[in-house]
Amino acid sequence: MTPDTNSPAIELINVSRRFLTPDGKSMTALRDFNMSVARGEFVAVVGPTGCGKSTTLNLVTGLAKPSAGEVRVMGAPVDGIDPRIGFVFQTDALFPWRSVIDNVVAGPLFRGMEPEPAYAAARDWLARVNLSMHATKYPHQLSGGMRKRVSLAQTFINEPQILLMDEPFSALDVQTRVLMHEELLKLWSQSKASVVFVTHDLEEAIALADKVYVLTSGPATVKSVYTIDIPRPRIVSEIRYDQAFIDISRTIWEDLRDEVLRGAARDEAKVS
C-alpha cells in the first residue's frame, strides 16, 4: 500500500464535474468542491435533492472522472476502481438471480478467493447481520430491511477501508431505518473504515456522523461543515430527544433551508 499512512483517507481538491446532457449540453454538477475525510472518520453529506451529492461518491469510486481538480484516496490519485472501497447503493443492487449467501460471497470470489474460505466468511457475515436462517433464500423473498442487511454484509465482507453510502436507507420505512442505523454503527465501529454517507435526511446525518457537510443547490459546492460532538457509542433511536442533537439540527437546518428553497425554486422554473 501507500507508504504515506498519515494522509487523509479521501481528499477532493477543487474538484469540478461536468456532464453532457442527452441533448448535448454541458451541465455542471460539482464546482470547486473540497472535502477531506480522515481515516476512520464518519462523514455525512447533506444537500437539496439533485444537487450532485451522488456525483461526489462516483468520483471517489473511479466510476466517474473529475473534469477538473484532483481526487485522492489514501494519498494517491484515483485510477480506476479501488479494491479498498465498498459502496452501498440507494436502490437494490443485489443480484436477484443469486441466493442470499451467493450474493454475500460474490465479492471475495470476484477477487479470486478460494470458494471454501469465501463461503465460510460469507456465513460468518450473515451471522453478524442475523440472516443465517435466510442464506438460501432469494432477494425477492426478503423484506426491504433484510435486503439492506444483505447489502451491508456483501459490502463489509470485502473489508473496505473506505465505505461510500448513497442514501442507502432512503427506501426503508422510518422504524426499519433506525434499526439499520444501529446495525451500521455496530459494523462500522468494528471495522473502523472511513465513511462518506450521502443523504437528504438531516437527522440521519447528525445521528450517524462525526462531520456533516452541507452542500449548496446545484452546481454543488461545500457550503459549510459541522462537527458533531455527540459522544459515541450513540443510541440512534433515542438520540433525537437529546438536547445537543436538537440544537445542532436546528443550526444546520437554518443553513440547509435556504439551499432547499433555492433548489426547489430552480426545479420549478425548469419544469415551467
Binding site: F89, A93, P96, F110, H140, Q141, Q154
Partner: protein, 291 residues
C-alpha cells in the same frame, strides 16, 4: 364517550373466520379451474364437430377442406403403413434434425453476437446498420438461394433455419444486455468483478429472460425455415410430404402434416417452459397460480 386511548378491535361477522375464507377461496379456485377446462374442450369439440358435420352435410367441399375424420385416417395410415414417400418417422426425423440444428446454431450465434455487440458500443454502432439491412430481407426468399448454394440436402435447410432464428435471438440478447441494470453493473465492479466475470455474473443472467422470450418464438421459426426449405426443394421431410400431397390434391394429407408439426412445436414449447422454470427459480412467483 371520548375515550381515545383504547377501543376494542372490530368484531368479525360470523362466517368470516380464516378457515372459512380459505375454504371459499379454494372452492372458487376449483370452480374456475373446471370452467376454464370446460370451455377449452367445448370450443375444440364445437370446432372439430362443426367441421366434420359441415363436410358430412356437404356445406363445405371435402376436396379442399378434407375433414377431421379423414385427417385422423390419413395420420393412422402414415403411422402404421408409412407414406407414399417412405416411413413417416424418417421424414419427421429429417425435419426435426434440420430444425434442431438450425435452432441451436442460430440461437447460440445470436446470443454470442447479441452479447458481444451489447457490450461494445463501437461494434454496435458500426454493425447496427448492416443488421437492420439484412433483417429487412424476408428470410424465406433466401430459400432458393440456399438450395442453389448448398444443394437439396440437410445444409440448405439448416442454413434457412439458422437465419430465421439468428436475428430474433440476436436482437433480444442485444436488448437484454443493453438494458442490464446500471446499479448491478456498478455494484459488481466495485465488489471486484472484471471483464469476463462481469459479463458472466451480471450481463448474461440479466439478459436471460429476454433471451428465453425469444427462444420460445424462435423454435417455431426454426421449423418454418426447415419446412419452407423442403417446399422449395428436398428429397425428404414433412415439407416434402405437404408438397407431394399438394401435387396429388390430397387435402387430408396436407392437414395431417400440419397436425404433426403442431404436435412437435407444442411439445418443444412445453420442454422450453420447463427448462426456463428450472433456470429462473430466483424470480418471484405469481401470488396465486391458476392452471
Amino acid at each position: 364517550m371520548t375515550n381515545t386511548t383504547t377501543s376494542s378491535a372490530p368484531v368479525f361477522q360470523p362466517g368470516t373466520s380464516d378457515a372459512e375464507i380459505e375454504a371459499a377461496a379454494a372452492l372458487a379456485a376449483r370452480r374456475r379451474y373446471f370452467t376454464v377446462y370446460f370451455w377449452r374442450y367445448f370450443i375444440l369439440v364445437v370446432f372439430l364437430g362443426g367441421w366434420e358435420l359441415a363436410v358430412r352435410f356437404k356445406l363445405i367441399d371435402p376436396f379442399f377442406f378434407a375433414s377431421p375424420w379423414a385427417i385422423v385416417l390419413r395420420l393412422q395410415e402414415w403411422v402404421i403403413e408409412g407414406t407414399s414417400e417412405g416411413p413417416l418417422w424418417f421424414h419427421l426425423w429429417v425435419t426435426m434434425e434440420e430444425s434442431l440444428l438450425g435452432f441451436f446454431s442460430g440461437s447460440i450465434a445470436g446470443i454470442i453476437a447479441g452479447i458481444a455487440l451489447g457490450r461494445n458500443r463501437m461494434l454496435a454502432d458500426v454493425f447496427s446498420i448492416y443488421i437492420k439491412v439484412i433483417n429487412s430481407v424476408p428470410r424465406v426468399v433466401l430459400a432458393p438461394i440456399f438450395i442453389m448454394i448448398f444443394g437439396l440436402g440437410l445444409t440448405s435447410k439448416v442454413a434457412l433455419s439458422f437465419v430465421m432464428v439468428f436475428f430474433v435471438v440476436f436482437s433480444n440478447a442485444f436488448q437484454g444486455v443493453v438494458e442490464a441494470d446500471r446499479n448491478l453493473l456498478a455494484n459488481a465492479q466495485i465488489l471486484g468483478a472484471k471483464g469476463w466475470q462481469l459479463t458472466r455474473s451480471v450481463v448474461i443472467p440479466s439478459a436471460m429472460s429476454w433471451i428465453f422470450a425469444s427462444l420460445h418464438v424462435s423454435f417455431g421459426f426454426a421449423i418454418v425455415g426447415a419446412i419452407v426449405g423442403e417446399f422449395v426443394g428436398a428429397r425428404y421431410g414433412i415439407g416434402l410430404l405437404i408438397n407431394v400431397a399438394k401435387g396429388s390434391f390430397d387435402a387430408a394429407g396436407m392437414y395431417a402434416a400440419i397436425v404433426i408439426i403442431m404436435v412437435v412445436a407444442l411439445a418443444a414449447e412445453y420442454a422450453m417452459t420447463h427448462v426456463e422454470n428450472k433456470l429462473a427459480k430466483w424470480r418471484p412467483a405469481p401470488l396465486q397460480e391458476l392452471h
